[in-house]
């Protein structure tokens, strides 16, 4: 068993699946020779050749659009968009074609492709390098949206995404690419898409989060639990389709709910989760379901970014408010 960080787990998963399935091809900007700006595809071109791992032209629309064609014609493309903030030229292809081909052809043509994108803030970067845009994909019927928060999950989810019959948007929390290491089995395993993980069970409050916020939320929970509470933490792992059952059952048990996310508050993923809870667990609630999210602003450049991301303290304050309601 190898001990890997999140980015290494992604490289390992790509390597594993390329070795197993000849139809898997990997490309994107700087993905081939250099191995990607984050080195997610490091060594793959040397191992599998330029036909299977290559530098795309600098055009996100081409990366996604050509991937759609390959997927229809029997390949399993795993493409990389360098940063999710640069996906917009490709968004047209994602929304108007990748998500719709199955429906449009009544199941004749399908798009089993994975679109990987580093996403999220807290890395003190230039403009368009820090956004959390998961709802822009989750809102589109026909797309699945996955976000791993650990190296172990990253491998299992990526293998599941590549083998999935539909297009999967695979968002990678770049803030924790190299934050910690974990044992990642070298053998085959998948983590089902659409299944959340109860990271820690508890009885007083349900907290749902994903990606880089899992660690921050864990720290906040540790602080608040010292004050005598017992909190359940759920890592959503798949943003769409949401694992309603796990979330709703947990809230029925605890009666209280907080969602923590990096995307801006208005029309964010928290709104969807709270809506589900209102519909399915309303009579169990003992406090208003609450979201902890950045305000409705553009992610500031590094010197102002601390105003954007909710920090451990911010999360802890919200947890206490809901617990003491």
């Amino acid at each position: 068993m190898a001990v890997l960080n999140l980015i290494e787990a992604i490289t390992h998963a790509l390597d594993y699946e390329m070795g197993k399935d000849e139809s898997v091809v990997v490309y994107g900007e700087d993905v081939g020779f250099e191995g990607g700006v984050f080195r997610a595809t490091k060594g793959l071109q040397q191992k599998y050749g330029e036909k299977r791992v290559f530098d795309s032209i600098l055009a996100e629309s081409s990366i996604v659009g050509s991937g759609i064609g390959m997927a229809i014609n029997g390949l399993r493309p795993v493409v990389e968009i360098q940063f999710s903030g640069f996906m917009f030229p490709g968004y047209n292809q994602i929304v108007t074609h990748a998500a719709r081909m199955r429906n449009r052809s009544r199941g004749l043509y399908t798009v089993p492709m994975v679109i990987r994108m580093p996403y999220g803030g807290g890395v003190r970067a230039l403009e368009h390098h820090s956004e959390s845009l998961e709802v822009l994909f989750a809102h589109i019927p026909g797309l699945k949206v996955v976000i791993p928060s650990t190296p172990y999950d990253a491998k299992g989810l990526l293998l599941a995404a590549i083998r999935d019959p539909d297009p999967v948007i695979f968002l990678e929390p770049k803030r924790i690419y190299r934050a910690f290491k974990q044992e990642v089995p070298e053998e085959d395993y998948t983590i089902p898409i659409g299944k959340a993980k109860v990271v820690k069970s508890g009885s007083d409050l349900t907290v749902v989060t994903w990606g880089a916020m899992v660690r921050d939320t864990q720290k906040a929970i540790e602080i608040v639990e010292k004050e005598g509470f017992n909190i359940e933490l759920i890592d959503l792992r798949t943003i769409s389709p949401i694992d309603q059952e796990t979330v709703v059952e947990s809230v029925k048990k605890t009666g209280r709910f907080v969602v923590v996310h990096e995307a801006v508050s208005s029309y964010g993923p928290g709104a969807e989760l709270i809506s589900i809870i209102n519909e399915k667990a309303f009579l169990h609630l003992e406090a208003p379901p609450t979201r902890v999210a950045p305000p409705d602003i553009i992610v500031p450049l590094p010197k102002g970014e601390h105003h954007y991301l909710p920090d451990v303290n911010h999360i802890a304050v919200a947890l206490r408010q809901v617990l003491k309601f």
């Binding site: 700087d30 530098d55 403009e127 390098h129 500031p300 450049l301 102002g304 105003h307």
Partner: protein, 360 residues
């Protein structure tokens, strides 16, 4: 002079001054006074010193990510000198020489790269759109700026800058097509620095020259030695004059080389050999003009030393001001999302403010 007879597929780029500072095409030499030539040189040196200083600050952890211009000074300053202060520029993120030429305050430039968007609130007369990171998207704005100038019968021309990698984006092609169809007063400058991060020009496009892409849109295209400031100036000037006189857009390929990293987050040793860099160092655009000026007797080492000292001091003092600037207030990150804060934003603002005060 250049645009009509030039065949963009020819790979014979326009060069007026060779790497040794000799004028190889005297008949093309632009009519510049010694003072103007010295000013161009000083602007290039200023750009170089800013880059060197920022890279030094970056290594010291005093600045985060930066995209240096090293080696591309003539492409930027030469083209920048061919426009008027009132002309517009839609730039990407590696056009420092143009910003300097357009009198953008160094304080603003440094503040921006320091990580504070307040730096992009330039004095109005600069007339350069803020740094645009999404590749090639700014060229579309360049066409709209130019359309509006033409619409109001104003004489302004708009320069749009993009890199060799950017020519792969749909936005590049759409912008050129729009400009040609509408005969807008645009000049598009491709800084072909041979790399899109790690991806080489040859991997990006199969054409012999980027200039020949102009043919598909029915406009002149011309490849220029981007390290020859006289060639860059002369060709851009002709294209700008033509655009200003209703003659429509031009595509200029400035053939140059990115001597530094893509940004400080990039390590070019992964994808290129030092020998290649050494070859291009011999064609350094600043050394080239200096050789010319020394031969022409309008420059000497004493002036050089004084210039470098003066510019270094300016960068140092402006960066000190930047480091001593006010921290970004909570208000500042809300202020410019809309003309007026929404009621939800106001609520979010007061909640965050209370939370931040509680922590303190």
């Amino acid at each position: 002079m250049f645009l009509k007879p030039y065949v963009p597929q020819s790979e014979e780029m326009v060069q007026i001054m060779d790497p040794n500072g000799n004028i190889v095409k005297p008949e093309w030499m632009p009519n510049l006074s010694n003072e103007e030539i010295i000013e161009m040189y000083e602007t290039m040196v200023f750009s170089r010193i800013i880059d060197e200083k920022i890279l030094q600050y970056q290594r010291q952890g005093r600045i985060l990510t930066y995209a240096p211009n090293l080696g591309q000074e003539a492409a930027q300053v030469g083209s920048g000198f061919a426009i008027k202060q009132t002309d517009w520029v839609a730039s990407a993120f590696r056009e420092l020489g143009v910003w300097l030429r357009k009198k953008a305050p160094l304080y603003n430039i440094l503040l921006y790269w320091y990580g504070n968007e307040e730096g992009m609130h330039m004095p109005e007369e600069v007339r350069i759109l803020p740094v645009s990171v999404p590749i090639a998207s700014q060229l579309q704005h360049a066409t709209g700026l130019a359309y509006a100038s033409k619409y109001r019968n104003e004489p302004d021309v708009t320069l749009g800058y993009v890199g060799d990698g950017g020519t792969s984006q749909g936005d590049f092609h759409e912008a050129l097509n729009f400009a040609s169809v509408n005969q807008t007063p645009n000049v598009f400058i491709v800084q072909n620095n041979q790399f899109a991060i790690s991806t080489r020009r040859a991997v990006q496009t199969k054409v012999k020259t980027i200039a020949e892409k102009a043919l598909a849109y029915g406009m002149p295209g011309i490849q220029v030695d981007g390290n020859d400031i006289f060639a860059m100036y002369a060709v851009t000037k002709e294209a700008v004059d033509q655009a200003r006189n209703g003659g429509g857009p031009t595509l200029i390929e400035a053939y140059t080389y990115r001597l530094g990293a893509h940004t400080t987050a990039d390590d070019p040793t992964v994808y290129r050999d030092q020998e290649e860099v050494e070859e291009w160092l011999k064609k350094d655009p600043i050394d080239r003009l200096k050789k010319y000026m020394l031969k022409a007797g309008i420059w000497d080492e004493e002036k050089e030393e004084a210039l470098r000292k003066e510019k270094s001091e300016i960068v140092k003092s402006e960066f000190t001001k930047v480091e001593n600037s006010e921290p970004v207030a909570l208000e500042a990150v809300f202020d410019y999302i809309y003309a007026d804060k929404t009621s939800i934003q106001k609520e979010q603002y007061y909640k965050l403010k209370a939370l931040q005060e509680e922590v303190e």
